[in-house]
């Protein structure tokens, strides 16, 4: 149900953009909605992170995934069980840039009463490909938001297109993004456990991103638009000197609208894992809780059963057994 709902929703969004452009609402789809989206995105993102920040981390709860620092002659695993800030930075970098934890993924199954384990790196590979290519796609779009285009943006474009296939030359990351998105979708459908846990909130952003990639690829290779006019529009957005040039194909507005929706949806969705991973207390804490005291700002006053109360109850028994007592 979630899947169908999300699919229909994304198609409907594309249709809205199509109809809107046909009705001549170019200013709405080309200027107003993109600006609104970026404002909602930034404000929503900040508010969410601040909300997380307002809750303290009362206890020191890193998940330790390697040997602790203890005796000097025992080799510590400094990345999976860091005892210093530097170690934590390393751990977080591995986690954020290379998806360290997903790399551990295993497939567990039962065969003839035996639990068997198999290496299963597909999810790691698929999601790394998805995220990295999405990031590169995002960065190389800076050619639409800078003038003159910086050398490093051109460089990324050149590396991305190094295979020099076709005209305009094929940019690998677009294809990889689409393929990886497709893999993540198919995995949701064909892995029975993952399908069982999937919500509309899982399919919707995936379809939205696939829709963005698809419309982008269509626009670059098949239904071409006047790229110079597109840049005129995007530079207008970036310089706050807006205008919508005549004659940009409708596919561009569909692409832009889907992106606007994605940005506006971002802070209210699971996509906030982008910000959340930095704050995850099982990953970003140094495992030194016996070495340095961690302070809980709301450490509660509690009622305890004191030694005096204990001795009062058991004094005679203790004396009989020769256990020392405070009050004879």
């Amino acid at each position: 149900m979630g899947m169908l709902f999300s699919l229909v929703a994304v198609i409907a969004l594309a249709a809205i953009a199509f109809i809107g452009v046909k009705l001549g609402l170019l200013g709405l789809f080309g200027i107003i909605l993109p600006y609104l989206a970026i404002i909602v995105f930034l404000a929503g993102f900040i508010m969410k992170v601040v909300k997380w920040g307002k809750s303290p981390v009362p206890f020191h709860i890193p998940t330790t995934c390697g040997q602790q620092k203890s005796l000097p002659w025992i080799k510590q695993n400094k990345l999976d069980n860091p005892s210093s800030t530097l170690g934590v930075i390393g751990r977080m970098a591995l986690e954020i840039l290379l998806f360290r934890s997903l790399f551990r993924n295993l497939k567990t199954d039962m065969k003839d009463g035996k639990v068997i384990y198999g290496s299963n790196k597909w999810l790691w590979l698929g999601s790394l490909a998805f995220h990295l290519s999405f990031f590169v796609v995002l960065v190389r779009h800076l050619r639409f938001f800078t003038e003159p285009v910086p050398g490093w943006v051109n460089m990324i474009d050149a590396v991305d297109g190094f295979m020099q296939m076709g005209v305009p030359h094929l940019l690998m990351t677009g294809v990889v993004l689409l393929a990886a998105g497709g893999y993540l979708f198919l995995r949701r459908v064909f892995n029975q456990q993952v399908r069982y846990i999937s919500l509309a909130a899982d399919y919707f952003p995936l379809f939205l991103i696939i829709g963005v990639a698809l419309s982008g690829i269509l626009m670059r290779y098949f239904i071409k638009v006047d790229i110079v006019k597109v840049k005129e529009l995007t530079m207008g957005l970036a310089t706050l000197n807006v205008s919508v040039p005549e004659g940009i194909g409708v596919i561009f507005f569909i692409h832009l609208f889907l992106i606007s929706v994605l940005f506006a949806y971002f802070p209210f969705s699971k996509l906030m894992h982008l910000g959340g991973i930095f704050l995850s207390p099982t990953r970003n804490l140094v495992n030194n809780s016996r070495e340095v005291r961690h302070v809980n700002p709301w450490n509660p006053e509690v009622h305890v059963h004191t030694y005096e109360e204990y001795e009062d109850e058991f004094r005679e028994l203790m004396k009989e057994e020769g256990i020392p007592v405070e009050k004879e």
Partner: protein, 127 residues
């Protein structure tokens, strides 16, 4: 807020990255290179009308290359005349490269690989 220093620093970095286009261009008025203000003409070779220039020229040039280099068909006949399918002699025979090609490509951040082979005497290959 708890760990406010770190969180706010992180947020500032994030916002700085996300809004890069806005401050990178702040106060700038970007004008189109004059050549680009012209409406995209139909592409032509002599008198032959071809495809839409802005969106399709790269495909046609690519097709020409294959026909000439692999198929050996160098000329198009039109209205009794013969025209050479050539970037160097056809397009750049009349148009000036800097104005006609480079400006637009630079503006859009597109780096065609035409120039890795096609360069005039004295000009450096761009590869």
């Amino acid at each position: 807020m708890y760990n406010g220093g770190k969180i706010i620093t992180g947020l500032i970095i994030f916002v700085a990255l996300a809004t890069f286009p806005f401050y990178a261009n702040f106060g700038k008025t970007v004008e189109l290179p004059s050549e680009l203000e012209a409406e995209p003409d139909e592409m032509h070779l002599g008198n032959i009308p071809l495809v839409n220039m802005r969106s399709e020229h790269m495909k046609l040039l690519d097709q020409w290359r294959d026909e000439v280099v692999r198929g050996g068909k160098r000329f198009i006949e039109y209205d009794g005349d013969e025209y050479e399918k050539s970037l160097q002699n056809g397009c750049l025979g009349c148009h000036e490269k800097q104005e006609f090609c480079t400006k637009c490509h630079t503006y859009a951040g597109v780096k065609p690989y035409c120039w890795s082979c096609h360069f005039a005497e004295g000009e450096e290959g761009l590869l």
